[in-house]
Amino acid sequence: QQQVKQSPQSLIVQKGGIPIINCAYENTAFDYFPWYQQFPGKGPALLIAIRPDVSEKKEGRFTISFNKSAKQFSLHIMDSQPGDSATYFCAASWDSGAGSYQLTFGKGTKLSVIP
C-alpha cells in the first residue's frame, strides 16, 4: 500500500503552544519522510525531512519524531507563532526504480495559531 494517513485534519493552538501532527504508513519500502508547509495561494515548501535510520531530527523550532517499528512519524512545532499558521503535509517516498523517487502525500493538516 502506498497510503500515508495524516491526523488531525485541523488544529488550533495558542501562541507558544506545541502543535503535534501525526502520520502513519504501511509500506516498509518508504525510506524518506519529508514534511511540507503550504501557505494559501502558494506551492508547498519543504520544511524538514528524516530517514528511517534516525529517530529524531530538529531544525530550528521544527522537530520530526520517527518510530520505525510503529510505522509512524510526527511533526512538533515548538513555541508556535501566528506566522506558522498554514497547511502541513507529511509525505513518504520510495525508490521506484533507477533512482526515481515518488512522493505519496498525506491529506494535510490546517494549523491555526491564535495570538
Partner: protein, 111 residues
C-alpha cells in the same frame, strides 16, 4: 534564480477544450514532477520525468500528457478537458529525486 515558474496562474476552460500548462525551472534539476491538489486530498502525482526525453506515469495520469525535450521545461497537456480536472496543478523539480521545489501553481476550472 527564479526557481520553478508556472504559467498561467489561472485558467477557465470549457468542457472538451485543450490547453498546456507550462513549467520551467532554472536550477538544472534532472527530476521534474506534475501534481494536482484537490481540497482535503493532499497532492497526487500525475507524471514525472528523471531527465530530458524520459517521462513516466504517476498515480493519476489519465487525461493528461507530458513531454520533456529540455532539462528546463516540462509542459503538461490536457487534451479534452473535463470537470473532474478542475484542480490546482503544481510543478516541482529536484536534484536527486528528493527534496522537491514546488512552483506557485496553476488554478484550473473546467466548466
Amino acid at each position: 534564480n527564479a526557481g520553478v515558474t508556472q504559467t498561467p496562474k489561472f485558467r477557465i476552460l470549457k468542457i472538451g477544450q485543450s490547453m498546456t500548462l507550462q513549467c520551467t525551472q532554472d536550477m538544472n534539476h534532472n527530476y521534474m514532477y506534475w501534481y494536482r491538489q484537490d481540497p482535503g486530498m493532499g497532492l497526487k502525482l500525475i507524471y514525472y520525468s528523471v531527465g530530458a526525453g524520459i517521462t513516466d506515469k504517476g498515480e493519476v495520469p489519465n487525461g493528461y500528457n507530458v513531454s520533456r525535450s529540455t532539462t528546463e521545461d516540462f509542459p503538461l497537456r490536457l487534451e479534452l478537458a473535463a470537470p473532474s480536472q478542475t484542480s490546482v496543478y503544481f510543478c516541482a523539480s529536484s536534484v536527486t529525486g528528493l527534496g522537491e521545489y514546488f512552483g506557485p501553481g496553476t488554478r484550473l476550472t473546467v466548466l
